[in-house]
């Protein structure tokens, strides 16, 4: 079953290795050994996300993810949670635009249980799925939406920016949480059809990372997953292709009961998996990462017009990635003052490119983020699945940091010049109103988390 990749470390992988296997039913399996701590991470990515949803059923992929925790043929009710936690494990599931993932981190000696549980729901969810679960989890998800987006100030900013940046009808026009109306409209039959269409071994990648015996692990995977029939017939998601730039500046002004004015913007950037995307990541880090970035230095330190200013990157493989700017103003400062300063900084950066010190700083920051991601077995398992599902090669996860370090200053300047332009952005402006009936209250960084819906409430 091994497919040619050996467990020999590649250059730039920090000594990490992974092997790849495929079951007869099409399930791809990635294994990576690490015996430092007696734990093992199981991660299962299904190649389905909110981009596969159809009009009128936004939020279905995420609602369905909740239903995956409501029992299957051999697992009663909340048994999945109870058994994993009772075994000393931790678990969750999340839904994004491009995938749905489920994961358990277990003490080594309980690994087999996690594999049994994942196989049971992959093969037999519909034996347990009923109206009661559906109605209950619909209410839970609606409360998740209220808690994370509707009841916090700026909470729906990411949803609004996404809707601006990706046109009506585009598969990424809506975010994974979906609309209240669509959550209300989803039926049990929709959920069943969703499972039958997308939850199949040949539409998934399973990774197991940590203190494992690869042969034994593979035997367990074969035993529990091997008899689940694969099936085809999954429709391709709607085409996410778009021109490289938006071609005009889109703009929406929101008047709400928020504590301060805010300027947010989404820039259309290169697809994930390309050198240009890594270059864009570095550009955004130089401009808006941490507390020594160009925008932070200009707006927060020198002009003192903002309380916070930064850039984030939402990497996407099936559509252009999104560079997201978030600035909250200080005191009575007006938005045009901020906007002018940002335009100046972006134009100067496109003209000059990064300095060697800025490149060093940005690369060091991204390198540390990668060390953090790969420093836990769960993080490594997730990245192996990501590269397997989105790019067809899990080994790319282990060398990702090396690729970021190889990007040149010229490439960073090039992507900044081409993409970080006023005619390639959707702008969202918040103007506070003291209207008692307006949406209410929250965190200033709700946007970052909005691309990933979680099963369990934050602790």
């Amino acid at each position: 079953m091994p497919m040619g990749h050996t467990a020999t470390a590649q250059a730039g992988s920090g000594g990490l290795t992974a092997t790849e296997h495929r079951l007869a039913n099409g399930l791809r399996v990635v294994l990576s050994e690490d015996h430092l701590t007696p734990v093992a991470a199981v991660c299962l990515w299904y190649d389905v996300g909110s981009r596969h949803e159809v009009k009128g059923r936004t939020g279905l992929a995420h609602l369905f993810e909740h239903l995956m925790f409501q029992g299957s043929a051999q697992v009663k009710g909340n048994g999945h949670f109870e058994l994993v936690q009772g075994a000393g494990g931790s678990l969750n599931g999340t839904t994004s635009f491009e995938r749905t993932n489920y994961f358990e981190t277990m003490p080594t000696h309980q690994l087999e249980l996690a594999l049994w549980l994942e196989a049971d729901r992959m093969g037999s969810l519909l034996a347990a799925l009923d109206d009661e679960s559906m109605e209950n989890q619909r209410d839970v998800v609606k409360n998740e939406r209220r808690q994370r987006y509707d009841n916090v100030p700026y909470g729906t900013a990411f949803e609004k920016l996404t809707a601006l940046a990706y046109p009506e009808g585009h598969p990424y026009h809506h975010t994974p949480i979906g609309s209240m109306a669509d959550l209300d409209a989803a039926t049990l039959e929709d959920a069943r059809a969703f499972f039958r269409t997308y939850y199949a071994p040949n539409n998934a990648v399973l990774s197991v990372v940590g203190d494992i015996d690869p042969e034994q692990t593979l035997a367990w995977v074969e035993k529990y997953f091997g008899s689940i029939p694969g099936h085809d017939g999954k429709p391709a998601p709607r085409d996410g292709a778009l021109p490289e730039t938006i071609g005009e500046q889109l703009r929406e002004v929101v008047e709400e009961d928020v504590p301060a004015r805010a300027l947010m913007a989404a820039y259309r950037l290169p697809h994930d998996g390309t050198r240009a995307c890594d270059a864009a990541d570095l550009a955004l880090t130089v401009l808006g990462g941490g507390e020594s970035s160009r925008l932070y230095n200009r707006l927060v330190r020198r002009d003192r017009t903002a309380v916070a200013a930064g850039f984030g990157l939402l990497r996407l493989a099936g559509a252009p990635s999104l560079g997201w700017l978030d600035v909250k103003t200080s005191g009575d400062v007006e938005v045009p003052v901020i906007e002018t300063a940002i335009d100046e900084e972006l134009a100067r950066f496109a003209e000059e490119g990064p300095t060697p010190e800025e490149m060093e700083r940005a690369q060091a920051q991204l390198e540390r983020e990668w060390l953090d991601r790969l420093g836990t077995v769960a993080g490594r398992a997730d990245e192996l699945c990501r590269y397997a599902v989105l790019f067809g090669d899990p080994q790319l996860a282990l060398t990702a940091v090396q690729r970021v370090l190889e990007i040149t200053a010229e490439e960073v300047q090039e992507v900044a010049k081409a993409r970080l332009r006023p005619d390639n952005r959707a702008v969202l402006v918040y103007e506070p109103v003291a209207d008692e009936t307006a949406e209410d209250t929250g965190t200033t960084d709700a946007t970052a988390a909005a691309a990933d819906e979680n099963e369990e409430a934050a602790k």
């Binding site: 734990v39 058994l83 936690q85 494990g89 277990m106 839970v140 808690q147 504590p259 009936t437 409430a457």
Partner: protein, 462 residues
């Protein structure tokens, strides 16, 4: 109608043999300048975590200057005798490091994370920050204004707004704990660089500080490295500050922070109780977990998985401040948010869960699952250097022995159902809970009054 699956089913597998794991024991030492050092080698952890604890608690802040400890903590990364504020931030980030600093009731804490290959640089910067902070007028003024800008954002956040109100309700008006940790608009506005420097000179010195270093230290001469960096920090000797006891009024009552139009009600229901010095702590941890530690605990079984009123409600115990003599306290609380129309029914169910717990107790099965989870997750929870460093630092900050966490796991495993029940019931007595609700008073006040869980008052959000 359900449908049959076509796969082969196998019985649920049994666990294999557990591999032993123990919470790591740190090595303890002292530098010539009196700085206490805890170190712990964690193979494979390439990002090293460094925690520095300063004996500069919030109750040491001068009257009228609430927030000065916070501004000082932030000002540590705003320049030194060697670097301007911008240069300092750039140098840190060039080392791939992050540095967070915050002030809380027990003291000020700096948390550095840096790749092992750049530990020298990271420790050098944090040492400079502690040894010779610039506290430039202009930077402190900027931090003060920045802090003032943050306050409206916090007041608009339902969960932070709720926490602020609960502190005000629980603690005596003259106690520092009754007021916001990071100060109010009036007190923050009164802070300048002279106030920050005075606070620093009075409370920050190596003799009363501790540094914790955790990570893969292979090939690193930590003694030499510490000697060259934090070892160069000097200061007078001083006795540790006495820790005042914590008192609170937990008379059962309800405060609604009015947010007209809110689609959810944020709940924060709390009181104070024993900290880790008390023998009941392991049983309290266990009982609190059974009550509301996770999605399958008693509260979420009803409020989320049966009724769908919430995305999740949690019960927790969080140490506020501990003292060597055991007079410290922990905040014991239940928090979450429920949709506005179901606020009354959700609280009714919550109280029913508490009453049923008191009347019938926990089951052995619940206790067993909780122990297996709390003890079993330890190797997962402490996989990273940062998690280990943070717990070691908590132990120091709470005047606990270095082997406290390791001992706690043994105690949890030995705690029975009866003890866990008793601890949970004493932690959350139905008539001694202060309930803060951040929500739409016009819609929730009457249903909450009807529950009879205490007198209901309404306050404005701002």
């Amino acid at each position: 109608m359900t449908e049959l699956a076509t796969m082969d089913f196998h019985p649920r597998p049994q666990a294999g043999d557990a591999r032993p794991w123990a919470f790591p024991a740190p090595e303890r030492g002292t530098l010539d300048n009196g700085l206490t050092v805890l170190r712990c080698h964690r193979p494979g952890q390439q990002v090293v975590a460094v925690e520095v604890l300063l004996d500069a608690p919030l109750e040491a802040e001068p009257a009228g200057l609430d927030g000065v400890a916070t501004i000082m903590a932030r000002a540590f990364s705003e320049g030194t005798d060697k670097h301007s504020a911008e240069d300092f931030a750039a140098e840190l980030e060039r080392a791939g490091a992050t540095l967070d600093a915050h002030a809380d009731h027990p003291g000020v804490r700096l948390s550095l994370e840096v790749p092992a290959s750049r530990l020298t640089k990271g420790l050098g910067l944090i040492a400079d920050a502690l040894r010779a902070p610039a506290f430039a007028d202009s930077e402190v003024e900027r931090l003060v204004n920045n802090r003032l800008d943050e306050i409206p954002h916090e007041l608009a956040n339902p969960s932070r707004r709720g926490a602020k109100e609960l502190s005000k309700e629980l603690f005596p008006a003259d106690a520092r704990m009754s007021r916001p940790r990071q100060g109010s608009e009036e007190t923050v506005a009164a802070i300048d660089s002279a106030a920050v420097r005075a606070f620093y000179e009075k409370h920050v010195r190596p003799a009363t500080a501790t540094v914790v270093v955790v990570g893969d230290l292979t090939g690193i001469d930590l003694d030499a490295l510490l000697g060259d960096t934090l070892g160069a920090w000097t200061g007078s000797s001083a006795e540790p500050r006495p820790v005042p006891p914590v008192t609170a009024d937990d008379t059962g009552r309800v405060v609604i922070v009015d947010r007209p139009g809110a689609v959810q009600t944020q709940l924060l229901i709390g009181r104070i109780g024993p900290d880790r010095h008390d023998r009941v702590w392991p049983a309290q941890v266990l009982g609190t977990y059974c009550l509301g530690g996770t999605l399958t605990s008693r509260l979420d079984r009803v409020l989320r998985e049966e009724k769908g009123y919430t995305y999740g409600v949690r019960a927790f115990g969080q140490v506020l401040r501990s003292a060597p003599d055991g007079t410290g306290a922990a905040m014991l609380a239940i928090s979450g948010s429920v949709d506005t129309p179901n606020t009354g029914p959700a609280l009714q169910d919550l109280w029913t869960v508490l009453r049923t717990l008191a009347a019938e107790g926990l089951t052995d099965a619940e206790r067993d699952v909780a122990v297996q989870n709390l003890v079993g997750v330890a190797p997962l929870k402490y996989e990273t250097a940062a998690a280990v460093a943070s717990t070691l630092a908590d132990q120091v900050e709470q005047h606990l022995p270095d082997d406290y966490q390791a001992t706690l796991y043994r105690q949890l495993a030995a705690t029975g159902t009866v003890e866990a029940t008793a601890a949970a019931v004493s932690a959350f007595p139905v008539d001694r809970l202060v309930t803060v609700l951040v929500g739409d008073a016009a819609q929730i006040k009457a249903p909450v009054e009807a529950l009879g869980i205490g007198e209901v008052t309404v306050v404005a959000a701002e």
